[in-house]
């Protein structure tokens, strides 16, 4: 029996749901001090001085670190999270500046929440007492809050080194969009406003560090332990060998990068010779951590009277916040996914990355795809309305047919490879969604009262998943006979221990229970990528497969040698290797491991042990896709929206564990539902944040999320050994557009067109009122 594709119960669950998880807040190191961060209360201004004397005099305060205390190498995080090839830069007219995020503000502050000092004290209470005593003398200057105003001549500069507040731009042209547009019979266009939202895990961020024997151990709620280590080494002046980064159990993440606290806390531990921990508060997390979306997109779809799409053009204004370590990533993700599942031969997308005095924008689950799907699928519904066609029929008419796969989309992906949809059957996917949802009869459903309307909407998406540059794993036969997998990608709520064990077990013909998966620690293996961009199912399972096969070959060689049987005549079963037809004559994995152990009697003196360390370098991303049908009920007196049903049809290629994929789809729908109905991080005109508690920043709760039906239509990719395509983000992409289209369908009698995300009930009622007049 094999295990890939089977809903193996999560091995993580028993431990995590019975309170046995070990999170950063559970870490107990003798003598550990607690840190808090002092943050700017001004959005922009000159930081003249920081008076920490009173804080330092408070009993229990051990240190107040300010910018002046930082070594030159640790003053700013200057690495960017991307590498662009010269060909890509030339092809898409990319211009993008460098990035330098202060670890502690020096000389000026550029956003509310920017760290200005780190306080270390004997306990959290004292540290918070001291936080109120650090006095910043800031001469405030006008804040740049509106990204359009930021581009206008005479705007104050967010960063003196970035003229005009324009940090990056690109221009993608496919085909002849101008001509196609002019020749088309119809055009629909709109300005889409996608608000800033915040990826909000259950657990806030945190960092702990200890410095013992000239070796630094850092615990961080990071998605990228090896990457963090590579940032820290030059900044702290240490060899990577002296830094161990551990990502403990994590209560979610949704995106991120490397943050100033991940530099500050290790520095404090090194200075004080004491372990130091910083645990982020919820308000800090909302204000500083995973801001995303925040785009203004002007877009136009041109099409003929028979419904054929001719061209799509858009201008994407990305509000990046005060620093932009992710460069063009987010607006380019919009551009590279904007044509979705549709055949649109002529395309133009201009992207502008604008700096404002806000928290930096980062890729959060979906990272440009929800925005892209929202824009294109709203335009498709507007076009259907214009033509008097059913939106589903218009979609079916314009889908890229299966026999055109792989489909070269005529532009490059961000990794410098040609953007090619490698696999999938979009027409089948859309038809499946229509059938499974009972699309034709959904509008016949009766609303609960004459003040309610029911509507149906759909949305499709594609997602480039499994980004490189690489993933690493080591697979070893333990002397117990169990197989140990060490992987450079680790979970922050995903199912690595379950799924990687399934992949490995199949190679060795054993049960997943006999595989021990270890992740989240740079001491486990020298390389690692991490978990982001729907990549672990793709890249980690691929490398575990590769390393498992190589280790199996070593087992085979050894067994063949000892048993004097040809490799082809060996059978792997139940943790044993034996000659075909002679099960009693074999050896257990444990026996083989002992024979391979180093020593005078080793049977593998040239390569002791039975292990293989491998890496997988994906050729490019692989495209997963999905279609959703949403049913909503709208109260026309209040603008309140209830999502009644969502049907998801997903193509993530080979399904490693359908239960895990279903969970990802459920979570993705909930996240997208929050984005379109609830979530908005606001700043006022002076750059003061207004959404720093969960009373102000609304997340969907159990009562807001409907029943979700997930249907799998798998088309494995040829781009990796298992045929896997990513599943972690896709549902987030389609949910906002599907729900928005359903709202517009429900309110068709009022001519409502939703062009903003989120759409608040107050705003929706305004739109209904406009239609009433």
């Amino acid at each position: 029996m094999t295990y890939v594709g089977i809903p193996v119960p999560r091995t993580e669950d028993a431990r995590l749901i019975s309170g046995q998880g070990h999170y950063l807040a559970d870490l107990a190191i003798p003598g550990m001090l607690e840190a808090v961060v002092v943050r700017s209360q001004d959005a922009a201004g000159e930081l003249r001085s920081l008076d920490a004397d009173e804080a330092l005099s408070l009993p229990g305060v051990r240190m107040v670190m300010t910018a002046a205390d930082l070594p030159e190498s640790a003053r700013a995080i200057t690495r960017s999270f991307y590498v662009l090839t010269p060909q890509f830069v030339e092809r898409h007219a990319v211009e993008v500046g460098g990035s330098s995020e202060p670890v502690l503000a020096a000389g000026r502050v550029c956003r509310v929440g920017e760290p200005t000092a780190l306080i270390v004290a004997t306990d959290r209470y004292v540290a918070e007492d001291a936080r109120r005593l650090v006095l910043a003398d800031v001469d405030p200057s006008p804040a740049v809050v509106d990204p359009e105003a930021a581009l206008s001549p005479g705007s104050p500069l967010v960063d003196p080194a970035v003229p005009g507040n324009l940090h990056g731009r690109f221009d993608v042209v496919v085909g002849d969009p101008d001509r196609a547009r002019e020749n088309a019979e119809h055009r629909v266009s709109a300005r889409f406003r996608i608000a800033r939202s915040v990826g909000s895990p259950l657990e806030n961020r945190g960092v702990a560090a200890k410095w013992v024997d000239d070796t630094l151990t850092v615990w961080s709620t990071t998605q990228i332990p090896h990457v963090l280590r590579s940032y820290l080494a030059p900044m702290l002046g240490l060899e990577e060998e002296r830094i161990r980064v551990i990502a403990p159990d994590m209560g979610g993440s949704f995106g991120g990068g490397v943050y100033p606290e991940e530099v500050l806390v290790p520095l404090a531990a090194m200075r004080l010779g004491r372990p130091v921990r910083w645990l982020e508060e919820r308000g800090e997390d909302l204000m500083n951590s995973r801001h995303s979306r925040d785009q203004l997109i002007d877009a136009e779809l041109a099409f003929d009277g028979n419904g054929s799409f001719r061209s799509l053009s858009m201008r994407i204004l990305q509000d990046c916040g005060a620093v932009n370590p992710f460069g063009i990533t987010l607006p380019f993700n919009v551009a590279s996914h904007a044509r979705s599942v549709y055949r649109i031969d002529h395309f133009r997308a201009e992207g502008l990355c604008v700096l404002t005095n806000k928290t930096r924008n980062t890729p959060v689950r979906g990272a440009g795809r929800p925005e892209a799907a929202f824009v294109v699928d709203r335009l498709v519904d507007m076009a259907a309305h214009r033509l008097g066609m059913d939106p589903a029929d218009l979609r079916l008419k314009n889908l890229i047919p299966a026999d055109e796969m792989p489909k070269d989309m005529g532009m490059m992906y961000r990794d410098g490879n040609q953007l090619v949809y490698d696999s999938g059957d979009f027409p089948d996917q859309v038809r499946t969604a229509l059938e499974a949802s009972g699309y034709q009869t959904l509008r016949d459903r009766k609303p609960r009262s004459d003040r309610h309307r029911i509507g149906v909407g759909m949305s499709c998406h594609v997602e480039g998943t499994g980004l490189g540059p690489h993933e690493a794993a080591e697979v070893r036969v333990d002397t117990s006979g169990k197989i140990v997998v060490r992987c450079g990608s680790q979970p922050h709520g995903q199912s690595h221990a379950t799924v990687l064990a399934q992949v490995c077990a199949d190679v060795f013909g054993i049960r997943p229970d006999d595989v021990l998966v270890r992740t989240g620690d740079t001491a486990l293996l020298p390389f690692g990528g991490g978990t982001f961009g729907s990549r672990s199912g793709v890249t980690a399972s691929a490398v575990v497969r590769i390393a498992s096969e190589q280790t199996r070959r070593k087992l085979e060689e050894l067994a063949s040698d000892v048993l004097e049987i040809a490799v082809n005549d060996l059978v792997f079963e139940g943790g044993r290797v034996f000659p075909r037809g002679v099960p009693d004559a074999g050896l257990t994995f444990a026996e083989l491991a002992r024979l391979a152990a180093p020593g005078p009697a080793s049977r593998r003196p040239h390569d002791p042990g039975l292990a293989s360390l491998n890496t997988f370098v994906p050729p490019s991303v692989t495209f997963s896709s999905g279609t959703q049908v949403a049913v909503v009920e709208v109260d026309i007196d209040t603008g309140m929206v209830e999502v009644l049903d969502v049907v998801v049809v997903d193509d993530c290629g080979t399904i490693l564990n359908p239960m895990v994929v279903d969970g990802q789809q459920h979570g993705g729908v909930a996240h997208g539902l929050g984005n379109i109905l609830l979530e908005e991080f606001r700043y006022d005109d002076t750059g003061q944040p207004g959404s720093v508690t969960f009373m102000d920043y609304l997340l969907p709760t159990a009562t807001d999320v409907p029943s979700i039906t997930v249907i799998h239509r798998s088309h494995p990719t040829p781009l990796n050994p298992l045929g896997v395509k990513g599943a972690g983000e896709g549902a987030t992409a389609s949910a906002p557009a599907g729900i928005a289209n359903a709202i517009c369908d429900a309110l068709a009698e009022f001519g409502v067109e939703v062009t903003e995300m989120p759409i608040s009930p107050a705003r929706l009622l305004d739109l209904i009122d406009q239609g009433r007049r």
Partner: protein, 281 residues
């Protein structure tokens, strides 16, 4: 998210609690369920020098049903009140189902909610609609305040220094038609608008009307204009006058909805609550 240091006291009598509060000279806060106070302290929006925990005062935990009134002790949790009053005054039970979530109702208290005086307080609107009174004990002894006069301004109840809320007295209605409708962004959130409607009806005509509004201004408030419009109307069709509530409300802007939106919602909740009262068997 750690509060500043404070002294913690847990008296066993109302008199002792009042004395502690009086001696603290306005620097002490009463701790009951802690559902509002504790987060405020964690944010350091308030930093009392002393907490007087009234959880050990047995008499505050009683619910007494007399011939004419029900007295709910200030320390009774929302959930206990919801379950105990359901059969007697269903309006209270239905209204309380909108108060946060069960986990909150299991801990938060009647007195705490009244003393906090949030404009979106379900207890406030219910007390107003039911013509309830609030008993208060302080250094000068005990007094009773009608709900009409208890909510003075934004988060400001009629409580003098050293006074604590000890109970809520609800007259037992002989017969009433009632409705309760609340609209919030998500289930359990603070109301954007809500209405508790209590109608005395004789021969199909509204003889008396009391309407408590939550989320309609700086305090929970009574909709006097709407009440006057309702009085004397046929119950059937009375919902048509709901827009009279316009004159009664003056909602606040916040990020969940501008004032004009909440004003619209006030009409909607009144209309629906009146219709509920009319349609109830």
């Amino acid at each position: 998210m750690k509060p500043a240091a404070f002294v913690y006291e847990r008296p066993s009598s109302i008199a002792e609690a009042v004395q502690l509060l009086s001696e603290a000279d306005g620097e002490a806060k009463v701790l009951a369920g802690g559902q509002s106070l504790v987060p405020l302290m964690a944010f350091r929006l308030v930093s009392p020098s002393m907490l007087v925990d009234i959880g050990a005062i047995a008499e505050l935990g009683d619910i007494d049903s007399g011939p004419d009134t029900i007295r709910i002790g200030a320390g009774v949790t929302h959930r206990r009140a919801e379950l105990a009053l359901g059969p007697v005054i269903p309006l209270v039970a239905v209204g309380l189902r909108e108060l946060g979530h069960v986990a909150i109702r299991n801990v938060g208290t009647v007195g705490g909610s009244l003393a906090h005086a949030d404009p979106a307080s379900e207890w406030g609107a219910l007390a107003l609609a039911l013509d309830a009174s609030i008993s208060v004990t302080g250094p000068a002894g005990e007094r009773s305040v009608g709900a009409d006069r208890f909510f003075l301004d934004w988060m400001q109840p009629d409580l003098m220094p050293g006074e604590i809320v000890t109970g809520l007295h609800i007259p037992k209605p002989s017969s009433m038609r009632w409705g309760f409708v609340e609209i919030a962004r998500r289930r359990g959130d603070f109301a954007l608008a809500g209405a508790a409607v209590n109608l005395g009806v004789a021969d199909g005509v509204i003889a008396t009307a009391r309407v408590g509004i939550l989320g309609g201004g700086v305090t929970p408030l009574r909709a006097h204009t709407l009440e006057a419009a309702l009085t004397g109307m046929d119950l059937v069709g009375a919902a048509e006058v709901a827009e009279a509530v316009d004159a009664d409300v003056d909602p606040l802007d916040d990020q969940h909805g501008p004032a004009r939106y909440k004003r619209r919602l006030a009409r909607v909740v009144c209309e629906r609550a009146i219709r509920q009262a009319a349609e109830a068997a």
